[in-house]
Symmetry: C2
Subunit: 326 residues, 2 copies
């Protein structure tokens, strides 16, 4: 029974104001001589046990977030200290969005062909295509990083405006930083994305510095009441139209006095599509100061995919607008 683990568990339960059961106490039992990796995300710690021959068994909790945290913060270092160091394998991922995998492949074809000391993998997802560059055979970490720097800059040159970040950087983070740097404030009006654009922006700490308010206006009444979309516009053009998108955009900015805005209205499906406006039809409008941009998209895929693509497209549009502006 490890006192430190038990004590950490007690503090955790006390913080949450929840009683600790006997089943929990069992999680503080550790094998004699084990190395303990403290787990700030859960109750059970990680453990490493080594036998006389130097063979190591590592025991980790199964909750994915806890496991990942322990691996990143403790296990890798523990293993690294025990390993012979050979050629370090380093990755860097260049993130792109708004361009199809095949078109991107055409753009960067000669960089991929010319790369001899690294490999380049295409990793497409609903929100974009990541290019993962891996250095396998550099002599040391500095040489590996230099090789990655070199290929990254050549890929960036080709990918141009479609490249928005590296590694785990999210487009919402990039857009948010830009808005803050430019001193812009933002209002968001969402219909079919139902809060997803706001959710993505607020995933990033510090978004309160620019996000004044978001409106999820699924119902037509809400579009009229909170965003000032006219009943005539809704009747004549429908809720999924350029006119409605523009009035949502103007209304969200006017009511919050924000200097930038996003409006999304569309049909995410599976129902609600018509011959003229099939599922996947989405109008997106963005604006910053006096400039604005509005586009019609026809996204393919299922509801979740259409919503994710629409939220990403809205962020791309705003990003492009604020980049042009300066």
């Amino acid at each position: 029974m490890d006192k430190t683990v038990l004590e950490a568990m007690r503090r955790r339960f006390a913080l949450r104001g929840v009683a600790m059961s006997d089943t929990n106490r069992v999680q503080a039992l550790v094998p004699d001589g084990a190395v303990i990796f403290p787990n700030p995300r859960g109750t059970a710690p990680g453990l490493a046990v080594e036998d006389e021959a130097g063979r190591v068994v590592i025991l980790l909790p199964g909750v994915p977030g806890e496991m990942r945290g322990l691996v990143t913060e403790h296990v890798l270092e523990f293993l690294r200290a025990r390993m012979q160091t050979g050629a370090p394998i380093l990755h860097r991922t260049l993130r792109t969005t708004g361009i199809a995998e095949s078109a991107l492949a055409d753009c960067v074809a000669d960089v991929v062909r010319a790369a001899d000391d690294v490999t380049i993998a295409f990793l497409p997802s609903v929100t974009g295509v990541d290019l993962r560059v891996t250095s396998w055979s550099a002599q040391d970490a500095d040489a590996a990083r230099a090789a990655l720097d070199d290929v990254e800059s050549r890929l960036r040159e080709r990918a141009g405006q479609y490249a928005y970040g590296v590694d785990r950087e999210d487009l919402a983070e990039v857009v948010g930083s830009r808005l803050r740097a430019d001193g812009l404030t933002l209002a968001v009006a969402e219909s079919c994305t139902g809060g997803l654009v706001c959710k993505r922006l607020t995933d990033v700490p510090g978004s309160s510095a620019f996000l004044l308010a978001g409106f999820v206006t699924y119902a037509n009444d809400a579009k009229t009441k909170f965003l000032g979309v006219s009943e005539q516009t809704l009747e004549q053009h429908g809720a999924v139209s350029e006119a409605t998108a523009l009035e949502m955009l103007a209304g969200a900015r006017a009511t919050t006095a924000a200097t930038a805005g996003i409006a999304v209205t569309g049909i995410a499906g599976p129902d609600g599509g018509t011959r003229e406006k099939p599922v996947g039809t989405v109008w997106i409008g963005v604006s910053a100061h006096e400039r604005s941009s509005v586009h019609l998209f026809r996204f393919l895929g299922e509801r979740t995919e259409i919503r994710e693509r629409a939220a990403q497209a809205a962020l791309v549009m705003l990003w492009n607008l604020v980049r042009e502006q300066t």
Copy 2:
């Protein structure tokens, strides 16, 4: 060059109004005699190639969503038709939320001990604990389903109010169905969850039937202007307080005339915590008709986790309230 695949690809590009490149045409090349699995989610189809000895190679696109779709819709059936049928392995997952893994383990301990023809796995995540029951040795699918039915009903009895669904059912879906069945309409006011509650509710098709509007009011001004939270309340109690949560809740319902409401205000971190109100402090209020419920939570974890836990807790609270009501 498979004409059908090429034609499907052409239609896909035409639908999106995007030009098809030569790189795409390559995706319509298939090995002679291959079985083609049409891919409605992307350009490249799935392929199965069989040699004279009956050995099969299956080729699938690497995009996770496309791969999963093809496996579910084509590959499993293709393989099943080629396999000897033995004891079928069937799963069922009972989903719980609002109870810790250890407490749930205590509740269902005797069901787990008594289960001899199935295994029961605990799968904890940020939003709850799933109990996955697996039948390994039943004679046929009917017997397997009967065994799963039996264990599921015993687990449900023990898990009580904490069990909300089976398999892929999401709590937002369960709550939405309940609101629709009860003829309730909903308004949502979110601060620290920043749109996540609305996003979860609108992930489910048909949410427009009950969700009147959502407000992402990060800024105090927005809480006052759109939800009628008084400046005095914000000054005296702070934005993260019971009083503010209740005024957000009342305001969201009043301005939309919704018959149910959710309000969330808290500190998701990493900044903004104080000794008195540390990161993870979240006030959640829910109401339906004349009844309401408000709770203080102290969620542990990082920003994403705190937000996910808070959104889930809000859905749990509303679900409990509307269940009690009838």
